[in-house]
Symmetry: C2
Subunit: 579 residues, 2 copies
């Protein structure tokens, strides 16, 4: 189609912190309708359609059956799994005209079980996988970054049903491979899978697919030595404490106004790792207190803590209620109503400084193994650190990176089928709950992530497999008859060959036209002008500058098609085989 016809404008503003949001706003891809709610202009919708086609092919290839679940669901469906009550405000609840409680689907495990229930009643029907591509709504408190974190989004979600854990695991491997193929086909083979925490989804084994980028909201732990990868929540934090040769006695010292780890350590000439710090939370449900002690140089991971406690928590607001002295809390001589936990970073540590549970005093010489009651449990509640010990190979090799989650897969187990009473008759006629897996990819976030990972200062560098158009023809001075004739001819030839062509024949300057073309990001560009024609040529260039030069007019069509093929093959070369 012609550039002048595309609804939307190209802008110059860079209003946002996140470059993909800038480029997709400037390029006329998205328009905000409300907080975390966007409309897509045609270029973004074209990208979305291409990603959806890849998703369908890969889901069909692992025996998926496309279905469609509703966006709006009765609350009773979510009550049947218990999630109507257990999920927070991100599940949007409302009443319909008859006063019935309804929800907007943020995920569809319940709907999948409801659909399959009663129509998969014998073991011969298993395994099967159903998937949909549909709009979801999650009432995010902090929408940000254009399509990176929104409230309404298009998602591919898949649900598999199995008669044994082994069968689920076999299928999970195929889905994992399908996901690798999807990212590679979308031009981001650099996406990595990391072990993750299953959170509200239930189940045990799960993976997140991460695109590493500084704007990511997730911390990912990797080990270059052995290939270990996990997100921060799912990474065991291993701390090797070497015992001091001499164990000092616990001694009360005056520390006055020094309350922070840094201040106390500086006063006493001790590094932070030689201190034992206190962190206080409250349970959301009843505001009861939880006090955790950990090594002074480490941080508590709230997800690990939540999982251990099996309840949601928030940082404590007013710790005096728990009889705690802020800045001087210590594990010895404590009188508090709080639940007291010890992080594993304290195991084996010696000669630490810690609070003395009274104003202006700390203890030195605290050695947990000696000074805590026998049988004290040390729990893994802290974050892994850069250079820390890899839980897989044991080397001090951990790296911490930022990443965007662009997909996830879960082994759900029987969490939903048990709760909702879905059963089948097995070979022996016994009624059994099937075992489930689920597999999600947010389409819009993937688009924004590809843009984030592949752009330059001037616009997105769309991989040819998902670019809104494969080729843009820039006809400079299209009022020149020869230019117009040549450009029209090439446009028609390419269209007839099934190439997706964008055609810019506006009476604007070369600079203006090229800057718009950079924002629209067609991977191949053909420039036609009186100057190139005087050489008997067009200019054929790549959006990513990987090639560029003259091509004879009569060879242009074939050259463009060859370039498209070449770029497509380069993407496909990185796609792993199907399993």
């Amino acid at each position: 189609m012609k550039v002048r016809s595309i609804l939307g404008e190209r802008f110059k503003e860079r209003a946002f912190d996140i470059e993909s949001q800038n480029l997709m706003t400037r390029g006329g891809y998205i328009k905000q309708v409300g907080n975390g709610i966007y409309s897509l202009f045609t270029p973004a919708k074209r990208i979305q359609n291409k990603i959806e086609a890849i998703l369908r092919e890969e889901m069909d290839a692992i025996d998926g059956q496309e279905v469609l679940f509703p966006v709006v669901m009765p609350a009773t469906l979510w009550q049947s799994s218990g999630r109507f009550e257990s999920i927070g405000k991100e599940l949007l609840r409302f009443k319909d005209r008859s006063g019935a409680d309804m929800v907007l689907g943020m995920t569809h495990e319940e709907a999948a079980v409801q659909l399959a229930m009663n129509v998969a009643g014998t073991y011969q029907k298993y395994p099967f996988m159903i998937y949909q591509i549909q709009t979801k709504f999650r009432d995010e408190p902090r929408a940000r970054g254009g399509l990176i974190r929104v409230r309404e989004f298009t998602m591919k979600d898949a649900y598999s049903f199995h008669t044994s854990q082994e069968d689920l695991e076999r299928y999970y491997e195929r889905a994992y491979r399908a996901y690798e193929r999807i990212y590679a086909r979308a031009g981001v083979p650099e996406v990595i899978a990391v072990k993750s925490d299953s959170g509200m989804m239930g189940g045990k084994v799960s993976h997140e697919f991460m695109l590493l980028t500084d704007i990511g909201e997730d911390s990912i732990v990797t080990c270059p030595e052995c290939g270990f990868r996990a997100n921060m929540e799912a990474c065991e934090a291993i701390t090797e404490n070497e015992a001091d040769a001499e164990l000092l006695p616990m001694t009360e010292v005056f520390t006055g106004e020094a309350h922070t780890i840094d201040d106390v350590g500086q006063m006493l000439g001790l590094p932070n790792e030689k201190s034992c710090k206190a962190v206080v939370y409250q349970r959301n449900a009843d505001d009861s207190y939880v006090l955790i002690f950990c090594r002074g140089d480490r941080e508590i991971n709230e997800t690990k803590l939540t999982n251990y406690l099996k309840s949601e928590i928030h940082p404590a607001v007013d710790i005096e209620n728990a009889n705690l002295h802020a800045g001087n809390i210590g594990p010895v001589g404590l009188t508090t109503t709080a639940t007291v936990l010890f992080d594993r970073t304290l195991a084996g540590a010696t000669n630490l400084v810690c609070g003395a549970n009274k104003p202006e005093y700390h203890f030195t010489g605290f050695t947990p193994a000696r000074d805590l009651p026998e049988g004290t449990e040390f729990i893994d509640l802290s974050k892994a650190v850069e250079g820390g010990v890899c839980p897989n190979c044991g080397k001090h090799s951990l790296k911490i990176n930022r990443g965007i989650e662009v997909g996830n897969i879960f082994q759900l187990g029987k969490r939903y089928t048990e709760a909702m009473g879905m059963t089948y008759d097995d070979e022996n006629g016994a009624r059994v709950n099937p075992i489930m897996g689920c597999y999600g990819i947010g389409v819009g976030r993937l688009i924004a992530s590809v843009c984030e990972a592949h752009h330059d200062d001037y616009g997105p560098l769309w991989p040819i497999t998902i670019a809104p158009w494969q080729v843009e023809i820039c006809a400079l001075r299209a009022n020149d008859e020869a230019v117009k004739a040549a450009a029209d001819k090439l446009y028609e030839e390419l269209q007839n060959a099934g190439v997706e062509v964008l055609y810019d024949d506006r009476p604007v300057s070369a600079g203006f036209m090229f800057s718009d073309a950079d924002l629209l990001g067609a991977p191949v560009r053909v420039v036609i002008s009186p100057k190139t024609l005087s050489r008997g040529c067009f200019e054929l260039t790549a959006r990513d500058k990987s090639f560029g030069g003259d091509v004879a007019v009569e060879e242009a069509k074939e050259a463009v098609i060859a370039k498209i093929r070449e770029l497509t093959e380069a993407v496909n070369a990185k796609v792993p085989e199907r399993m």
Copy 2:
């Protein structure tokens, strides 16, 4: 794919009044999730995907650009057009976690204007059309008939923007033609366009596309003499009253307990057309009364009345409040607070019976032209009738049919662009509101309507262009090695040729297998059994019984492909040319 793998079962129940709902439930196409909310199983989703592909092709062919609007929108957007206040409870309103008012999109005029606003600021950008295929929610009080009338549905909605009424009209013609093509391509060329009332959409000219069927909720008026077509709301009702030779004086007569038209007419020996009946409504806004007099044998059309009053109405609940005597209301000697209207069916009528505004009495000899005040206006508020006068050719030729609305197109004018302040600079630099059209098709309703129009007792007769699978292979006694080998081979050959094949090799009886195949509705069927193989043949039959017979094993693949081509060409032969 194999029948045994499709999630879902084929059932025998006929639980519903509407046959398409029975067949789509029995066939495993749909599953109810809530009132008017359905999930689609794979067969229905495959049909939907095919219809969506047709919609995309036809919208692209009339220069449409695909976009995507949100399902959830801020109320402010709907306030900007005034519809947040003016639309009833079918617009679902709720609050998000921050307390902001939101709505679920039941149509997207506001979103279309919001998207186009600021990025179509000069006349050179016009005309353009944007469309989406997206989930909508309309909080229908009376969901019914499976996918016929639901609350959540997938819709293709398109919005065009123009700089002149002439340009809109030109485009409207193209869209009209595109709609004819869509229905013909979906296998229902019998869909007819009728002039319609624009209702809440605003604008003047509009058409509904109707599939005539007895289960339809709409009444459609057609004239076989001249081709005139309109829905009941949009059809002028013409009544020719012939004056009696002698005008009788108005005379009060005792009618006792006779209150209805029928009873009074019978008592006095007069047909209903010789009476003047009273119908009372109340305005929704303030419960104020509206009293309409019309000829006794005619019915008031509430949409005409609503449009005339410019306010929503409901049948009156307690008419004593308006000082009216139920059963004896008449136009002479009336003392009421109600707005009083006279329907056009009374113009020219003579010697009618009417209420006397006191219990147990009526008047005879009422002649409106004589007995009503001079200048009394007669308004078209009644329904056209079977055998009535055609407003186009004037013959007594009107037919009334039931129909399902499967699409609609509207000339919206400036209703939304004015309200929302969308402008562009015209050739003279003046800022002008663009003129809009809009064009909708509900995908799910179209599927159900095709099923309603094309089925037999055993299942749907899907047109080949939208059938979930083109061919079904029925391998009877697939445990027979020869049968299995032959069926596997044909399955693979057809798959490789790009044919969509469903393969049933379950160890079930022929009757069971054929009955499932009837419900799944593949237009072409190949039966392979030891018996057919003993003849060196397969059986090739049509779901609609239009052909059936043996085909030699080695010719089967080509014969199937030829049949598919033949059926496809038969559908395409009825598709009109593009404009």
